[in-house]
Symmetry: C2
Subunit: 273 residues, 2 copies
């Protein structure tokens, strides 16, 4: 099954456009996890086991696993094994390299780990994306307009009549022969999201920046209208919602409540669109 169908199916089945960002920082994990040999594997397991019926998927940012070295690799395997087959697995890798290196990354994230999709940075152009989209049932989200302050430095530069991020979108759409390219828009860019969706209703968006980055969910949801081809990523505000000295039940309760609450808010706003 291709990615866009898989995405539609899970959004419909779990009534959820929510993706939980599994970005585990050892310094922020509740103390109870530190007794385990691989704290992050247990932390992720409890999150996945207790939210998998109310999310569209999970996004693992590679930065948080690489810094754990071998333990990070084990934690990724453990986590991916627990995520149901019909649920979206995104690796937030933001890679971008020449063809032979990009092929190695594609092999790692798609062929080996079996992620469904990765995020890519567009700066090096078409041949840095090609090895990923050659895997036709896999999917890439290319960075368009990101949520951080630094998005102003280059993404909003004017290239002729367009912004650079619009040029990134236009060029990427030309590479999108197999319908396996989507884009990352930060939740703060509601007007740009609305413009994009009007022109490209079928192209999936990955939208981070709700939660710890504290953008306005209501405005975001208005900009999405009746579109269903999006996932909203929220990480820190869900996975760190318990007290540092919580026990296992309190942790589970806090995480499930946090995820459920955000998912319900998204669904309520969708009804009014």
């Amino acid at each position: 099954m291709n990615y866009t169908d898989k995405l539609k199916n899970i959004v419909s089945k779990n009534k959820s456009n929510l993706v939980i960002g599994l970005d585990p920082d050892l310094k922020k994990l509740p103390d109870m996890f530190l007794k385990y040999k691989n704290p992050v594997a247990v932390f992720n397991r409890l999150i996945v086991e207790n939210t998998k019926d109310i999310v569209a998927g999970y996004k693992l940012n590679s930065a948080f696993y690489e810094c754990l070295l071998e333990e990070g690799i084990v934690a990724i395997w453990h986590t991916l094994n627990l995520i149901p087959e019909d649920t979206i697995k995104i690796c937030d890798a933001k890679r971008g390299d020449i063809d032979n290196s990009a092929e190695m990354y594609a092999r790692t994230f798609f062929d080996d780990y079996n992620f469904d999709s990765v995020t890519l940075s567009p700066y090096m152009g078409e041949d840095s994306v090609a090895p990923f989209i050659r895997r036709k049932n896999k999917f890439v989200y290319i960075l368009a307009l990101t949520s951080n302050k630094g998005h102003n430095d280059f993404q909003k530069l004017k290239v002729g009549e367009k912004y650079l991020y619009e040029e990134v979108i236009d060029k990427s759409m030309k590479w999108n022969k197999d319908n396996n390219i989507g884009f990352v828009f930060g939740a703060n860019h509601t007007q740009e999201i609305q413009n994009f969706i009007r022109a490209n209703p079928e192209i999936p968006l990955l939208i981070p920046g709700i939660g710890a980055q504290a953008n306005d969910l209501e405005n975001l949801m208005k900009s999405l209208g009746t579109n269903e081809n999006f996932v909203i990523n929220s990480g820190r505000s869900i996975i760190y919602s318990s007290a540092k000295d919580c026990n296992e039940n309190e942790f589970i309760e806090a995480v499930r409540t946090g995820a459920m609450k955000l998912n319900e808010e998204i669904n309520v706003f969708k009804k009014y669109n």
Copy 2:
């Protein structure tokens, strides 16, 4: 010691501006390495042990290690441990992410592995670079104008009077308060390298694209003039210069000869500048 001094010292000591790209692909390794538990660690060891007196440093592209999973991490450790303290260790990671993720990458590559420098992709702007350059004795090479075909897609777009890659350089130079930012230019962009060096003679360049990517060394060296603040990376043409069925001595001989020959060519061209 800061990076630019370290670079000058090793270039002078070893009479070399050559960096060997350690990008080991299991499919291309001579057969003799496949009998080892960690073929890449042994492959890299033989290269480092037999070239360390004639190079400025080594560049490890993270793509080629990540695809080996745990073995890749072990191979990085083994390799870095063999590289002399005064020799440059570059991680070609091309990362670029929001501040808290960038901090995790900086921790991994700088604090943990103890690389001297990393390559970064500029698309996400200042806060994606900040955690790296906050480590003042560490160094980043920001992608400016890359060697691949895809450099035309975005890097050469006109932003007002300038190209995007020039805008990347100008903005990055403003962040360069601690003199720990340099740039990546592909070896094919000789005119642009010459222009850059005339305006910024003190800023270190990392120049890939000599060897397997088959660009013209003579033209490149002319564009560098009397500048010394550069390293030329060559990987595949050196590390795969032996036959697939070679023995250990033949491998060592081929690699050392390949590295020495390229280094001597660079030095001969330098004399005429």
